[in-house]
């Protein structure tokens, strides 16, 4: 499983030459229920008309959550996630941010935020409307994280909620499933986080630095889309790659 590596123009690593034959475009357009949205390679969705940005499954403080159970993962996941979010916010003129649930890995997460990370978060919130959608990991409003809290949010033809509903209504934008698609080429299998959409509804990739993934061929996605008739938009380093779900590999397990 390859974690998305944020490589934007100026932050490009030394020697990280462009890959031949690959276009220099870092976003694609995905239409959902008639609304044209911009999918960014960093795993965020931008709605230009509304100047609205959606990110899902940040799982902030997952590291410290596991540490409490004896797995001492590097305590930099929150900083890393917020940094990447800041990078996106600097590229689009964002007035509204929707964090689509599982924003914190557990209800104790907000209280464990390191001072620097909290400051960074407030910096991102400044001058914007920020909506924390409830997730299964963080079902209730939290203190000292700013923004407003909502179970779900309807805006025009779109409905934003954390868990996708089976055979969802047109316009549903959800997260929760952490979609990952696997494709094979020249004997190698590649797995990437992805947007999943059938133009009627969409499931967001997980954004959090430590968030795991679920293969899009898992039955859960059939439940959402009704059939194996959806497209996976894989996050590359500089652009998205679209594959029909039926062409992606299964892995049988999670």
């Amino acid at each position: 499983m390859t974690q998305l590596i944020e490589v934007s123009g100026p932050a490009m690593l030394a020697g990280d030459a462009p890959v031949p034959g690959v276009l220099e475009a870092r976003e694609s357009q995905i239409t959902v229920a008639g609304v044209t949205l911009v999918a960014d390679v960093a795993g965020a969705l931008y709605w230009p008309e509304e100047r609205l940005l959606v990110v899902s499954d940040l799982h902030l403080e997952k590291g410290s959550s596991l540490a409490a159970r004896g797995v001492l993962l590097p305590p930099y996941d929150t900083a890393s996630t917020l940094e990447r979010l800041a990078g996106i916010l600097s590229r689009y003129a964002v007035h509204v941010v929707i964090a689509l649930g599982d924003n914190f890995h557990d209800p104790g997460g907000p209280a464990r935020l390191a001072a620097a990370d909290r400051a960074k978060l407030f910096e991102l919130l400044r001058g914007r409307d920020w909506i924390w959608i409830a997730g299964n990991h963080d079902p209730d409003p939290a203190d000292r994280i700013g923004g407003v809290f909502a179970r779900s949010l309807a805006l025009g033809p779109l409905l934003f909620r954390h868990e996708p509903t089976p055979q969802a209504n047109p316009g549903e934008i959800a997260g929760h499933l952490h979609p990952v698609a696997r494709v094979r080429r020249r004997g190698r299998t590649l797995a990437r986080r992805c947007f999943v959409s059938d133009e009627t509804r969409l499931v967001m990739p997980a954004f959090g630095a430590y968030a795991g993934g679920l293969n899009i061929r898992h039955a859960a996605f059939i439940q959402v889309f009704g059939a194996l008739a959806f497209t996976a938009h894989l996050l590359g380093q500089r652009r998205l790659y679209a594959f029909a779900a039926a062409r992606c590999l299964t892995d049988g397990g999670l």
Binding site: M1, T2, Q3, I5, L13, A14, G15, D16, A17, P18, V19, P20, G21, V22, S64, A67, A68, R69, G70, V71, L72, L73, P74, P75, Y76, D77, A79, S80, A114, R182, V183, R184, R185, R186, G187, R188, T189, L190, R192, A209, Y210, A211, G212, R217, A219, L234, G236, Q237, R238, Y241, A242, F243, A244, R247, L249, T250, D251, G252, G253, L254
Partner: protein, 846 residues
């Protein structure tokens, strides 16, 4: 020292009588080892297989235990009182070997009526017996490195090992080349501290530097150098090794040796029992399959490799021992193990890889020392002919190329530090001194040790936020203790340094029972065939056929952690891609092959087909002189190729390929891909490298400059899948990630994800973290072979010779043939994604 003329003292009774009753005379090295033990000297015994090495190792203990004045330990254990305690610890790299040795040892003990209790302790030993062993230890305990670590992590270790007089380390040459050897060295250091009068005996096959290996056996002193005595037993008759001079056409590439199948079968039918070694599991499967296809005489030919079900492997070994088999096709799974007297021929198919490795394999044939071992090498392609030729010359000279002693790994040290804390409180400076007595850790600095302790305690992060979750904490007395009994439980589940690929059980079901999808309804059960790597199974789609367990199978479905397969009615299996040998070509053999190529006067000894091949190369292009790197460029089908011949093994070549493509990219030569084999590397692209070289736009000296191991390497490591795999292994060994985590993340697939994510985050936020150091250290010699690449770049400095050709050279053909067979552009996943997408687009538009 040679012991050919050792004083022949006599064996004490009842051993003398027992030997005499069998018509045996003790071998000189057996007597010499007895003398060494009597003099209280730790000793390294180097002897070929079949020399009675193991009995030699036990003889001193048996003699001492028999001579001891007290009541018999049998009586003591019966009455349940504490005896004189554990006397000898025997440590083997193989669990099965420990069990076999115990059986072999019990026989003389019973026949002589010795008052000695011998027991084994492995992962399979029932908990009740383990408990009893700790309370009433046997006189001799046979076990594995992991069990030693476990025993040392208990509070009663000082009691258990206080009486220990001797440790016997079997197959030491094999143990010390891995992290298991690092872990065992730390355990030995601890044992030496608990029982200061402890003596060690190391049993080893022939190695390149015996004095280095002998350091492993005794505590090292700061600034000084300590080593055990070395005994080298007579090697017996020189082996008779030949290379098959095939009547068939020699393949240019590939590793199957299919061309020589008939000749191999003929060899088997003319010998009593043949061991056929190959380098990979898939080669073993293929060869086994093909041999049965032509097995008109119905010879009993069996298959043995590490992925087969353990019970099945044991059955093959038993049939072998009973003399019921004519041949066994095997991998390194049979490099070690008990001796089988009846093997009269060893066939090594493919590249020998190293002189010492080959000699150890040859030693598996004919264990009577007075008769020569007979071996036939079967090269699978033209380059392998050169390698076989070089290896035979090396065997004739008795040259050795075993790797040097390792530098101890930090992740292993972290595991040991936690184990020590589980055993009882420790003072860091005392533990530091103890650890430095272990030979692999003799150069450890306090700063690194301190960082490792900090890692074990709270993760070792610059951001100190995990103090309250610390696993070990210093008390007021300065001693570190575990913070919770749960920490010790976790340690016990994670002990050991063998990080397996995630394996999937393979079960045989009837065809058609499989569902239509991965989670399709399928009946559970079916015969267990063995286990396959998850990545292999992941590459299959239902309906794919492949060879495993000696059968052509059809993949039906994967359900949770089991793969269901049926017998395929197909003659054309999708054989697993050749994943490269586990062991790279040794630097020593590589040098010999380079020398052989550079000396046309030596070519007459080579088979005619190979001679002709090199001759045309000489005429069309050139053959590189020793120390030279030959670089050829030529156009072919709209692309420009650059081929070089470092002979440094596939892993180092892959790393070189990654770094060269980056540099060619910067030189605007638009590289598209590369492919590497053991001998050469081919890079191709749209830009004309030959033109750029001629114009002075591309300087080969710059292209191959050692500075590629600086920034270019760093940038690549950031995204390298191989580096992530290396990091994952370090993270598991060090205990950052658990093998079996309780709770939600019990699924190993999820674990794989998280270590990659952890690597990315850690690298960006704390690049100097001790685990990243550990991963780098490992990468230098492991999957990336950076150390070897560095040595090569240094060697060829100022010695690069370029030949611009108008078409492919004979020497380049083998690596060119790998294109399409090997995965290309090893790491450029973006390129592959784009290609995969394009392929689908083309299909759709057609």
């Amino acid at each position: 020292m040679s012991i050919a003329h050792q004083d022949t003292s006599t064996l004490p009774e009842p051993f003398g009588r027992w030997f005499a009753a069998r018509g045996w005379t003790p071998r000189p090295h057996q007597m010499a080892l007895l003398d060494k033990a009597g003099a209280g000297r730790s000793t390294l015994l180097i002897a070929p297989t079949g020399a009675g090495k193991t009995l030699a190792g036990f003889l001193p203990s048996l003699v001492e235990l028999t001579a001891r004045p007290s009541r018999s330990s049998l009586a003591r254990s019966r009455t349940g009182t504490s005896g004189s305690g554990l006397h000898t610890l025997y440590i083997s790299p193989l669990k099965a070997l420990a069990v076999d040795i115990a059986r072999n040892l019990e026989q003389p003990v019973a026949e002589m009526g010795l008052p000695i209790r011998v027991e084994t302790r492995t992962g399979d030993t029932p908990a009740s017996k383990r408990m009893r062993q700790r309370r009433y230890p046997p006189d001799i305990l046979l076990t594995t490195p992991e069990q030693v670590a476990l025993l040392l992590s208990t509070a009663d270790a000082p009691y258990l090992f206080a009486t220990l007089k001797r440790v016997v380390l079997d197959e030491l040459h094999a143990l010390v080349t891995s992290k298991r050897g690092d872990l065992l060295s730390l355990g030995l250091a601890r044992l030496h501290r608990i029982a200061p009068s402890l003596m060690t005996i190391g049993l080893s096959a022939t190695v390149a530097a015996p004095d280095e290996l002998a350091r492993y056996l005794v505590p090292q002193r700061a600034g000084g150098r300590a080593q055990a005595d070395v005994l080298i037993a007579d090697g017996g008759a020189a082996p008779a090794v030949t290379m098959l001079d095939t009547a068939e056409r020699l393949p240019w590439a590939g590793h199957t040796a299919r061309h020589a199948l008939g000749e191999m079968y003929d060899l088997i039918s003319r010998h009593r029992t043949t061991l056929m070694f190959v380098n990979t599991r898939s080669q073993a499967e293929m060869l086994f399959q093909e041999l049965w296809r032509i097995n008109d005489d119905g010879l009993a030919i069996a298959l043995h490799h590490g992925s087969l079900d353990a019970a099945q492997r044991r059955r093959v070994e038993a049939a072998m021992a009973a003399g019921r088999l004519r041949a066994v096709v095997c991998t390194s799974s049979l490099d070690l193990g008990i001796d089988w007297g009846d093997v009269d021929l060893v066939i090594n198919v493919g590249a020998p890889k190293g002189a010492s490795r080959l000699m150890q394999r040859i030693g598996r044939a004919n264990h009577r020392l007075d008769e020569p071992s007979r071996a036939v090498l079967i090269p699978a392609n033209r380059f392998e002919v050169l390698e076989c030729h070089a290896a035979i010359a090396a065997v004739a000279e008795g040259a050795q190329d075993t790797p040097p002693l390792r530098t101890g790994a930090f992740d292993v040290l972290a595991q040991h530090v936690l184990g020590c804390a589980c055993g009882g409180p420790f003072l860091p400076d005392q533990l530091f001194e103890e650890v430095r007595t272990a030979a692999p850790f003799v150069g450890l600095t306090w700063a690194d040790f301190d960082a490792v302790v900090d890692f074990v305690a709270t993760g070792g992060y610059a951001l100190k936020v995990y103090e309250r979750f610390a696993k070990i904490r210093p008390g007021k007395d300065g001693r570190y203790r575990i913070s919770h009994p749960r920490v010790a439980q976790q340690y016990r589940l994670n002990v050991g340094t063998i990080v397996e690929e995630t394996m999937i059980k393979v079960r045989l079901v009837r065809s058609g029972r499989g569902g239509h999808g991965p989670t399709g309804a399928i009946a559970r059960g079916g015969r267990l065939l063995g286990e396959l790597e998850e990545y292999f199974i992941e590459g299959l789609t239902p309906g794919d056929t492949f060879v495993f367990s000696g059968e052509i199978l059809r993949f039906e479905a994967l359900a949770e952690d089991e793969a269901y397969v049926s017998r395929a009615h197909s003659d054309d299996p999708k054989v697993p891609a050749y994943a490269g040998g586990k062991f790279p070509l040794s630097t020593y053999l590589a040098a010999r092959v380079r020398a052989l190529i550079s000396e046309p006067q030596a070519w007459p000894a080579l088979p005619a087909q190979v001679r002709e091949w090199l001759g045309i190369q000489h005429w069309r292009s050139r053959v590189p002189l020793p120390g030279q790197l030959l670089v050829e460029t030529f156009p072919r089908a709209d692309k420009n190729y650059l081929v070089c011949y470092p002979f440094e093994g596939r892993l180092a070549h892959q790393t070189l390929g990654m770094l060269l493509t980056r540099r060619l990219e910067r030189a605007r030569l638009r590289p598209l891909g590369f492919v590497a084999n053991e001998y050469a590397l081919a890079v191709w692209g749209l830009g004309d490298a030959a033109f750029a070289i001629r114009n002075g736009e591309l300087l080969l000296a710059r292209l191959f400059d050692e500075d590629m191991l600086g920034d270019d390497l760093e940038a690549w490591l950031a995204e390298s899948a191989l580096m992530k795999r290396t990091f994952r292994q370090c993270a598991i060994i060090a205990g950052l990630i658990e093998r079996r985590a309780p709770g939600e993340e019990k699924n190993k697939r999820q674990m794989t994800i998280s270590t990659d994510l952890v690597y990315d985050v850690l690298r960006r936020h704390q690049a100097d973290h001790i685990l990243l150091h550990a991963a780098r250290q490992e990468a230098a010699v492991g999957l990336l072979d950076i150390k070897r690449l560095g040595a090569m770049l240094g060697r060829i400095k100022g010695n690069i010779v370029h030949v611009a050709l108008d078409h492919v050279s004979p020497l380049a053909v083998p690596v060119m043939l790998e294109i399409g067979r090997e995965s290309v552009y090893g790491e450029a996943s973006e390129q592959l994604l784009a290609e995969a997408e394009a392929v689908l687009v083309n299909e759709a538009m057609r």
